[in-house]
């Protein structure tokens, strides 16, 4: 009934180990790690944190959306749970976020099992709609049961306790500490994605994506593997949520459980290219700065790129301010329309095109294919 993917499986299921890729990856991470030594502008570091956050979200969604092909548009559920559990444990129970976030991830995994058992029975638009509905139910419930969640008032972060890391005291004040934590978490997210992709799990996930029925007839336990993918994805999305709550210092149901959170995560991956490790990273690198500039063009002035009275800032402020999602909209339309084949290949080609650029290749074997 529908044109299925024609690209044979092995070509897109990279195995093995690319030394060059690993070196590039290490170099990029190292460069990012020493970056704050040279650039201290808070706005730049702020952007860096948002970028890492987007990378974590993208990598997390990629596991279930990219590899297993289950287009959840309800990831705000896990993001919000991560944010709320971390925040509430800190604010109510005085549990430091680096412990609280484990509980948050566990909670998200539990939730994902419930959601998975409901939604994975459905396919296509029905699955998408169900995933949205679940996230909306959680958002509305968080708004309503305000004795527990404080409803629309949300949570305002008091203070993050001082972290004691090997005798080193780390104060979470300013952007710097968040920059490093964000970078670390992003590296972990990328690494986990790599491991998933290169393990047996990755094969099963992709088999499910290519053809559920065929995968089933090969003896792959569909619901089990879909749930595994979703659990991994949920855990890391919750991690991103916990990190977000600590960084932004304010959460309420609409900002962490809202539909646009879910949509943003998906579009980030789609625009970057799904099913690869580089894709979500590219998506983040393209989208985060673009939408941030639209949101707050004055930042460019602060960084010294533009002068305060420059026409660009005035133009953006007057005509484009706060429409940062416009970029997502335009790009996703362009990506879906203007690709050679217009079927699932849309995404594949985009990803492959990105993947072929040598400087962007972390350890995937995309180049080999």
């Amino acid at each position: 009934m529908r044109t299925r993917l024609q690209v044979p499986l092995p070509s897109r299921a990279p195995r093995g180990f690319s030394v060059v890729g690993l070196l590039v990856f290490v170099a990029v991470v190292a460069a990012l790690a020493i970056f704050p030594q040279f650039v201290k502008k808070p706005y730049v570091l702020h952007m860096g944190v948002l970028l890492f956050l987007a990378v974590i979200q993208g990598q997390a969604w990629n596991v279930v959306g990219g590899y297993a092909g289950q287009y959840s548009v309800g990831h705000a559920a896990y993001f919000g749970v991560g944010a709320y559990v971390t925040m509430m444990l800190l604010e109510v129970n005085k549990i430091a976020p680096w412990w609280g976030v484990w509980a948050a991830m566990a909670a998200a995994v539990l939730l994902s099992l419930v959601i998975g058992s409901i939604t994975f029975r459905l396919r296509g638009p029905y699955f998408v709609l169900a995933s949205i509905s679940v996230a909306e139910i959680i958002r509305l419930a968080t708004l309503y049961f305000k004795d527990f969640t404080r409803g629309a008032e949300g949570f305002l972060l008091g203070e993050i306790p001082t972290m004691n890391l090997f005798g080193e005291e780390i104060l979470f004040i300013g952007k710097r500490p968040f920059y490093f934590v964000g970078l670390g978490l992003a590296v972990v997210a990328v690494a986990v994605n790599w491991v998933v992709q290169h393990s047996k799990l990755g094969y099963y996930f992709q088999a499910i994506r290519e053809d559920q029925d065929a995968a089933h007839s090969l003896g792959i336990n569909l619901s089990f593997y879909k749930n595994v993918a979703l659990s991994i994805s949920a855990a890391f999305t919750a991690l991103a949520g916990g990190f977000y709550a600590m960084f932004v210092k304010f959460i309420d149901p609409n900002t962490v459980f809202g539909l646009d959170v879910s949509v943003q995560i998906v579009l980030l991956c789609i625009i970057g290219g799904i099913g690869t490790i580089v894709g979500p990273v590219i998506g983040a690198v393209v989208l985060v700065p673009l939408s941030e500039i639209l949101r707050n063009p004055k930042g460019l002035v602060q960084v010294g790129v533009l002068s305060a009275d420059s026409g660009f800032v005035t133009f953006v402020e007057r005509y484009l301010s706060n429409a940062h999602l416009l970029v997502y909209g335009i790009l996703v339309v362009l990506v879906i329309l203007f690709a050679p084949e217009g079927v699932l290949g849309v995404i594949r080609r985009a990803a492959a095109r990105w993947g072929r650029r040598p400087q962007d290749v972390p350890p995937t074997a995309a180049a080999k294919a």
């Binding site: 509305l140 305000k146 409803g151 629309a152 008032e153 949300g154 707050n296 602060q302």
Partner: protein, 383 residues
């Protein structure tokens, strides 16, 4: 003529820094766009007028405006930018309870004096923050003034609450519930609604079935109008509709004569409260073509105080804070004095008058000393 003079003075001030008159950089965070923008506009107008008046006094304010779109996280990043990027001497705003409360935390952290002009949430000045000042009266006074007024006019026995579940709505409503209980009113309905889906007909029908003597509503502007429209539709007819400020005290609401008539609202300020207030109202009307709301007056007064204080102290944040804490001012809001009392820190004491819309015009009806017209009580029913 005066304008020319003011400009000359301003030019002089620029040319001779350190001669008493000076340039100060002040941040102003407000809901310029977003759902609260119709009210935010009043604050912007008030602040703009204050900046002009300060100029006439020889204080040149470089105003850095930031839009918080009504969202706390946006307000917080705006505050960070003002505190660290723009290096302002002090901050006026933001408007809503949620945003003002979020910014207060940062004001304390970055040690930037903040004057909250019109946000009601109790906690804002109850957290011991010595960098945060509030000009307007907090939430419990909204509820007390309204309920006291109703009890003075008649003998209501029961009360229903309907409010938006935001910081502002929840604070005023919960203060109202406490006070109603104290006064022996029976609470027959307690309905919080979510913004964004404005069909309150079923909720109002439910309230109508309880037949409450008082209906207490708290909401921002769009919902205030729709709540009253739908109350009229379903024929809700209590002895009095009590509107908790905000959306119920705006020109838009006043202009909706069909539904605003005989509704009570509580306010921070009325143009008739003093000569200075009347003069301000006249100038405002001449400039913007409409009556100032309390938001405009509060914002104006806050900006005047901050501008003067900042100029006197050469933009030094710590000195400004001390001067704010110790000084007192008399202007369109009457006497302003940031005091520490009953758990509040740096809170201005203000008596909130109750107004009633009579034929599309707001009239002060309570307290007795300030009343200009007799209140119409009970509500005679819809036309």
């Amino acid at each position: 003529m005066t304008k020319k003079l003011a400009m000359a003075v301003a030019a002089l001030a620029l040319a001779l820094p350190g001669t008493g008159s000076a340039q100060v950089k002040i941040g102003f965070i407000n809901s310029i766009t977003g759902p609260e923008a119709p009210i935010g506009e009043n604050l912007t107008n008030g602040v703009d007028m204050a900046v002009e008046d300060l100029k006439k006094q020889g204080v040149n304010v470089a105003l850095v405006k930031q839009d918080d779109t009504g969202k706390p996280q946006v307000a917080m990043s705006a505050m960070e930018q003002l505190a660290t990027g723009d290096e302002v001497a002090a901050v006026v705003g933001p408007y809503t309870s949620a945003t003002a409360n979020a910014v207060a935390k940062l004001a304390q952290q970055y040690k930037v004096p903040q004057v909250v002009p019109a946000a009601a949430k109790e906690e804002i000045t109850k957290q011991g923050y010595d960098w945060v000042f509030r000009l307007n009266a907090p939430a419990h006074q909204y509820a007390q003034s309204l309920i006291d007024a109703a009890l003075a006019f008649g003998k209501p026995k029961s009360i229903a609450f309907i409010y938006e579940s935001t910081d502002f709505g929840a604070s005023v409503a919960s203060a109202g519930k406490d006070y109603a209980q104290k006064k022996g009113l029976k609470m027959v309905a307690d309905e919080a609604y979510q913004k964004g889906a404005p069909d309150y007909r079923s909720t109002l029908t439910k309230i109508k079935a309880q037949n409450p003597d008082l209906v207490f509503m708290v909401s921002y502007v769009a919902d205030a109008i729709l709540l009253m429209r739908q109350s009229r539709e379903v024929g809700l007819k209590p002895q009095a509709f009590l509107g908790g400020g905000a959306g119920f005290d705006t020109a838009q609401f006043e202009g909706e004569k069909d539904i605003s008539n005989l509704v009570y609202s509580v306010t921070q300020w009325t143009p008739e409260s003093s000569k200075a207030a009347t003069a301000f109202a006249d100038r405002y009307k001449a400039k913007y073509g409409k009556k100032p709301t309390y938001h405009a007056a509060c914002a104006y007064a806050a900006m005047m105080i901050v501008g003067e204080t900042a100029a006197k102290n050469g933009g030094d944040r710590k000195k400004i804070r001390d001067a704010l804490a110790n000084g007192s001012w008399t202007g369109i809001m009457g006497k302003v004095d940031f005091e520490t009392y009953e758990g509040f820190t740096n809170q201005n004491k203000l008596v909130m008058p109750v107004i009633q819309y009579q034929g599309g015009k707001s009239e002060t009806v309570y307290p007795k000393e300030a009343a200009q017209k007799k209140a119409v009580y009970p509500f005679p029913g819809w036309k």
